[in-house]
């Protein structure tokens, strides 16, 4: 609605009782029609987003995950079983306390997990992709192929690590202070670009040798279980340069191919090579 207002579109706002439980006023008298309308409004109030919308609005996903995590902790503390195990227990095996707990969770859940069409489609897609991401994460990766092998001293490493820590602080500040609507992606990208640019400037003062700086950044990101995006943001060109040097200036990449020999997530691919990438190229 705020977006439409900015564009100059005048639209009537939704009545508050459509989406706010507390705005539904109980009728003063005993008029049966008014009481029936009151009960109907309470039953159909749309005070929560549906289940599938957590994939559209990042804040909704965060609220839902936070709720599930806290409810799971409470369930373990009270009944010594996980929340999903409690919800799948047969009703006849549940005690009064358990039933009350499940009902409270349904009432307090920030999303509406009913059996609507979109929610069912969403759950089907989730089941299809369940477990895939974890399998990928478990694969071991030797990141030394991305390094140039340039030696650096520990002082330089610690200075750049300090810059990295300050960079992470700025990024978490960005997450904390930034508007979480989908339309703010451009602002987020701009701010991120300016923070990365600052990192480049400060790192160049500490270490003017780009190969050393690249190796240091790779060690910072890959030696521990932290995000690797930072390494690719600041040193992607150097990483690609190092990989090309180690592969004899040949770049191989997968292309979709129904007769391919590589299968990944239900699709087939085959490898195609480009020789002489840095000098102009020919495709094999």
């Amino acid at each position: 609605m705020a977006i439409d207002k900015t564009k100059g579109i005048v639209c009537k706002p939704m009545p508050k009782y459509w989406y706010d439980y507390r705005s539904i006023e109980k009728p003063a008298g005993d008029n049966p029609d008014e009481l029936e309308t009151y009960e109907l409004n309470r039953r159909i109030v749309a005070n929560r987003k549906p289940y599938f919308m957590r994939y559209i609005y990042p804040q909704t996903m965060r609220d839902y995950k936070s709720f599930i995590s806290r409810a799971n902790l409470s369930c373990l503390a009270e009944f010594r079983i996980r929340l999903d195990a409690l919800e799948s227990m047969p009703v006849e095996e549940c005690t009064g306390g358990m039933r009350e707990f499940i009902n409270s969770c349904k009432r307090l859940n920030p999303i509406s997990d009913n059996n609507g069409v979109m929610n069912r489609i969403c759950r089907k897609i989730e089941a299809e992709f369940a477990g895939g991401a974890k399998e990928d994460a478990r694969a071991e990766f030797d990141y030394s192929i991305m390094k140039s092998g340039a030696e650096y001293n520990k002082n330089t490493f610690y200075e750049i690590k300090k810059l990295y820590d300050r960079h992470c602080q700025r990024m978490s500040e960005l997450a904390e202070t930034h508007d979480r609507r989908v339309t703010s992606r451009l602002d987020t990208a701009d701010y991120r670009a300016s923070v990365l640019h600052k990192f480049h400037r400060d790192a160049a003062v500490i270490c003017s040798n780009f190969k050393e700086a690249c190796d240091i950044v790779l060690d910072i990101c890959y030696q521990r279980n932290s995000t690797k995006q930072f390494a690719w943001d600041v040193a992607s060109s150097m990483i690609v340069e190092n990989l090309l040097e180690k592969s004899g200036n040949v770049m191989a990449y997968p292309v979709p191919d129904s007769d391919g020999d590589i299968e990944y997530r239900g699709r087939k691919y085959s490898m195609r090579e480009i020789k002489g990438v840095r000098d102009g190229y020919s495709v094999r």
Binding site: S74, C75, L76, A77, K154, Y158, Y191
Partner: protein, 248 residues
């Protein structure tokens, strides 16, 4: 845990170091309360907060900070600065904690007790309630267990009556049931980092306080003076200095 016992001393340190720290919004809010405490008016307060932000980060985007600065200035008079010397832990409380089964549960109880007492002294919350994030609580208690085990441990402590939990399923607020201030003080907590280690050190010893940053760490050797991070940084600085002196 990012608990500050003496906000006046802490903010003075921030003004000297020009570093907003891990929680820049909290730093700005505390600075606003500090300025209010020394009688600075609202317009001047805004100007000084902006000057601090620029000193800490010359590339700061003040437009993005606008709302936060306004909130900080608006709420500057809500409460004064927290100035606590230390949190006293009594013998009766330690005796109660030692009744819990296992050192992990005891460290967790000790951490909960310290945070509850801090809330009582800093904010006047008399119920013994703790609303801190559970992951942060376990980290400060130096108790490393899986996510599910945390819930089970809390359940054990609730069953034994040491703590109570909020009835709402989505709330992890915990109430400490054994605060007993009418007993002899045996420990004074002035640092809220690694509370679990501080408790273990009180009972069994075997820890040192880093000479550089003051963090308590498990002793790895008889001559150890620093924590791992400070030790590595100091060692590399000294090594670089020795190398420079040798080639000079």
């Amino acid at each position: 845990m990012d608990i500050v016992l003496d906000e006046r001393k802490w903010i003075t340190g921030v003004l000297e170091s020009n570093d907003l720290g891990r929680r820049p919004v909290y730093t700005v809010a505390t600075y606003a309360r500090y300025l209010h405490s020394i009688g600075v008016e609202r317009d001047e307060m805004r100007k000084r907060i902006e000057e601090l932000l620029i000193r800490c980060d010359p590339d700061v985007n003040l437009v993005r900070w606008g709302d936060r600065i306004e909130m900080a200035v608006k709420h500057a008079r809500d409460r004064g600065l927290i100035q606590i010397d230390a949190i006293d832990i009594t013998q009766a409380e330690i005796d109660t904690i030692q009744k819990a089964m296992g050192i992990q549960r005891q460290k967790l109880l000790f951490t909960l007790l310290c945070v509850a007492k801090y809330n009582m002294m800093a904010f006047g919350r008399t119920g013994g309630w703790v609303n801190t994030n559970i992951a942060e609580l376990f980290r400060t208690a130096n108790v490393v267990v899986g996510v599910d085990k945390r819930g089970l441990m809390l359940g054990d402590l609730i069953k034994d009556g040491f703590i109570s939990k909020s009835r709402r399923p989505d709330s992890v607020s915990i109430r400490v049931n054994f605060i007993e201030s009418n007993s002899d003080t045996v420990m004074r907590i002035s640092d809220f980092r690694s509370l679990g280690f501080q408790y273990d050190n009180y009972l069994h010893g075997g820890y040192i306080w880093c000479a550089e940053c003051g963090l308590i760490v498990r002793r790895a050797g008889w001559r150890q003076k620093y924590c791992k991070e400070c030790g590595t940084a100091i060692n590399s600085t000294n090594t670089a200095k020795r190398y420079r002196d040798s080639v000079a």
